[in-house]
Amino acid sequence: MAITLSGDQTIPAPPLSSRLTPAQVWGIVLLAPYMLVFLAFVVYPVSYGLWLARHPASYVELYNDPVFARAAINTLIFLVVGINIKMLIALFLSGFFAQQRTWIKWLSVIFILPWAVPSIPTILSVRFMLNPEWGMVNQIIFKLTGEDGPNWLNDPTVALGMAIAVHIWKSLPFWTLILITGRLAIAHDLFEAADVDGASWWQKFRYITWPSMQTLYVTCTLLSMIWTLGDFNSVYLLTGGGPADLTHVLSTLGIRYLRLDQLSLAMASIVCAMPFVLPLVYFMMKRLSR
């Protein structure tokens, strides 16, 4: 590179090393490992994947596959129903765990377990509990009522509900923990003043707790939505997408196509989720990179 003065008069640019301070050179060197990881395992796969999904024919085929439509609806149910139930319970429990009691402190230590232990053995454990013949749940139902319990994982609606329950079981502790942090940040004297004025618990929640936690709650809900889209285990390990491929969500569907060696369909199904994902990501980036 050279610097042009006027006409064809040029002087050579100073070498790169002399324009950068030693600290900046080190900065580039130290940033290089991540840049390599990013280029090799994010940029290349994503561009390659998009290139694989370039044919409109894939989308037509996808559209005509009834499993895709069902998976898209299941994903929506998972996101809208599942996440909102989960976050409302987390909000409620954050109030419970914020109480100062020794036994509640101990309970909170145990409460974190589902999040701390790996999902494979616990989800498989739930899967066996729901076995219609030998599972613990139906045996208890039989002992109590003398009737056979439902075949939990054989009815797609019930099975999807169970997958949502497993998802809630696994991730509720994390969100409760975050919301507790939010609650504890509220100035205590606000509540004391409200007590003096004789406010009910609902009034305290409505006028003190909720306004100060609203932003955090919305952010958590959105982040939880993004992560839930990537939750493969809850559905795959509980139902395997069955019965008859009726409980797939987009994340298990992509992997199903991949296993069937239909890579362009796998990528196309993911591309179809992008209109949901990108606005969420954009919003989260704006919130977090302030």
């Binding site: 600290a23 900046q24 130290l30 990013f38 994010v42 309970l107 939750d231 285990n233």
Partner: protein, 283 residues
């Protein structure tokens, strides 16, 4: 001793009314796993809340690899350990270097890299898995443990960089300036000033990466397939392929597999909760 008033008793009762269901909800799948692990096969399938003859026999079968599904138990356990340790170490290296470069050295373009990393953090993991699988094939890394290690480093790094950058920004600039005045080189600042001060965050991030890799199922299941190469969770998933899966052994192995992360979590809880939840969502 002061007797509790009626009002206090009522409050306590209401709290218990929440606490007891929460306890049951949390513990049932874990207890069920434990119950299977200590039950002989007959008891496990009878729906009892406690076996008539609790036994450690299942553990003995697992530790002696006395079942077709458990032939490679130790190899698979070791694979999990090696991969988790490698992911922890590599993530720490990549993320600490990047955070130091972006936050302390103010490298040109650092802000952009930071946002790109954050963007990766938000790509749902199962979505990235599809192209990642093909990419590993193109690189010739399939069925090689490096494929899983590199995939997990890719997934763990963005969050690690972000948390470490937040923590670095809180360190006063004067420290670096004073070190420069004393004639320290950049690397000396990194080693002697930066790393010691960042220790608590580094412990939190190292633990996070190790647990992430230890618990990972999807990528492990896609990228590794030979019985000798797979990690423990994939082996557990493979139990399901049989018609009459030995559930009591599956639960015993699962219980053994779940112990290290629970122990690590409780050992580092102090660092984890402070470092990670504060980083996860900035309110």
């Amino acid at each position: 001793m002061k007797l509790p008033t009626l009002r206090e008793v009522a409050t306590e009762a209401r709290l218990l009314l929440i606490g007891i269901p929460v306890f049951i909800w949390t513990m049932v799948p874990i207890y069920h796993m434990f119950l299977f692990a200590i039950s002989p096969k007959e008891d496990a399938f009878s729906g009892k809340m406690w076996p008539d003859h609790p036994t450690l026999h299942n553990f003995s079968i697992v530790f002696h690899e006395q079942h077709y599904f458990l032939r490679d138990f130790y190899v698979q356990f070791w694979n999990s350990v090696v991969i988790a340790a490698a992911v922890g170490a590599l993530t720490l290296f990549v993320a600490t270097a990047a955070a130091f470069s972006i936050s302390r050295l103010k490298v040109p373009g650092g802000r952009i890299v930071m946002n790109l990393a954050l963007f990766t953090y938000f790509i749902p993991a199962a979505f990235l898995a599809v192209p990642m699988y093909r990419t590993m094939g193109n690189y010739g890394l399939l069925n090689n443990r490096w494929s899983l290690i590199l995939a997990m480093v890719t997934i763990a790094s963005p969050y690690a960089i972000w948390v470490l950058k937040q923590a670095s920004d809180k360190l006063p600039v004067e420290l670096d300036e004073a070190a420069v005045m004393d004639g320290a080189t950049t690397l000396q600042i990194f080693r002697l000033v930066y790393l010691p001060l960042m220790m608590p965050s580094l412990v939190a991030i190292g633990t996070y990466a190790v647990l992430l890799a230890w618990n990972e199922y999807l990528y492990a299941f896609l990228l590794l397939s030979n019985d000798q190469d797979i990690t423990l969770p994939v082996a557990l998933g493979n139990f399901l392929s049989a018609d009459d899966s030995p559930w009591e052994l599956l639960m015993t192995t699962g219980f053994i597999y779940a112990l290290p992360p629970a122990a690590i979590y409780y050992a580092f809880r102090r660092y984890m909760v402070g470092g990670l939840t504060a980083g996860a969502v900035k309110s």
